[in-house]
Symmetry: C2
Subunit: 211 residues, 2 copies
């Protein structure tokens, strides 16, 4: 049944869309990604399986959209709750003190990775991306790359200010800061903490060689 | 039927064990981890499902043992092929030139992660570990931790030689070298190459600050 796109149909469609994304996030937290199915998402959202397959090809694709929507909602709420002039919550701080700015951002990343709201769907998407290159490419372009660009811009500003060596590729330099945290989180080698985030930033900035 | 442990029964059992591990590695390369099942491993190995479940609780546990066996076999072959006096293939080089030694090892890691023999089962195990903490713990203790210890020992030697700052925690310092490569490989953000491995080692050793 091909419905006409009346205002009511559009509203119903938006409600279903949102219900499906919410259901995917709830279920991945409750049963884990290995047991997440399109059937279960459809039942929880109160829609038919076909409604989901009309919009998404796979459970990984649903979860990716749900995760992106979660981030957008959190950013909107942070902006609404913030004082006027707080500025763009997506912006990277630039106080002129590069170490302090990197620590602030990396500590916030650690907090996010340790919070169940983000950890479970984020981890599920990372796991899916590891064996599914299409999901990985979308995950990188929609979730990773925007924050990578903020790091690159901050490091370029530090290069202009003479605080980072001018000949370093900022695209690789940022990975010395983010890579250890990402690897520790994904492989669960050792716990993440603010002290760890600080140690990584300090080592990345000054290097391992003696002063 | 509880068989007596005669020499023949033991040999048959060893053959089945090996056949199951080989089947798991072949199948993960052919059909991918999402479609790897105990049924398919049993059929390929020519054993019953119950034989697998007697030894392993899950497909992830089979694959972990298969991956460890693969590494052991490769190390044995390298040792047998090597000239006498080549030494332990698991040892970390120590030529006195820390940058050169780290680059040699990190380039070899890049080669391993790019080779289909290792990439597919390794990636599957990492994906399973991300959503399955028990497999993650075994993966870390049996696959990651032995090589982490080799890095720690090499960095401690460099500290004694005055080439690495004495106050750095080598357990964190090594992650500045390995973390970026692991994160790039797992998240597939950008390609791995020898040039990338070299750049990471150089940045980790000298830091990002201007000289």
């Amino acid at each position: 049944m091909a419905g006409k796109s009346t205002p009511n149909a559009t509203r119903r469609s938006e409600r279903s869309h949102r219900a499906i994304l919410d259901a995917a996030l709830e279920l991945v937290a409750e049963v884990g990604y290995p047991k997440l199915t399109i059937e279960a998402i459809a039942a929880r959202a109160g829609v038919g399986k076909q409604t989901i397959y009309r919009w998404w090809p796979s459970r990984g694709a649903v979860l990716l959209d749900a995760f992106v929507a979660l981030g957008e909602r959190a950013a909107r709420e942070a902006q609404e709750a913030g004082e006027p002039g707080d500025g763009d919550p997506y912006a990277f701080p630039d106080t002129g003190d590069l170490a302090a700015d990197l620590k602030l951002v990396l500590r916030a990343t650690v907090d996010e990775l340790r919070s169940p709201t983000y950890d479970l769907p984020y981890r599920a998407l990372a796991a899916e991306g590891i064996v599914n290159p299409e999901i990985a490419a979308e995950f990188v372009s929609r979730v990773m790359e925007p924050s990578v660009q903020l790091y690159v811009e901050r490091l370029r500003a530090a290069q202009r200010a003479g605080q980072v060596a001018a000949d370093l590729d900022p695209r690789i330099a940022l990975e010395l800061v983010t890579g250890p945290v990402t690897a520790r989180w994904l492989l669960r080698t050792l716990p993440l903490s603010h002290a760890y985030a600080d140690a990584v930033v300090d080592m990345a900035l000054r290097g391992l060689s003696p002063r």
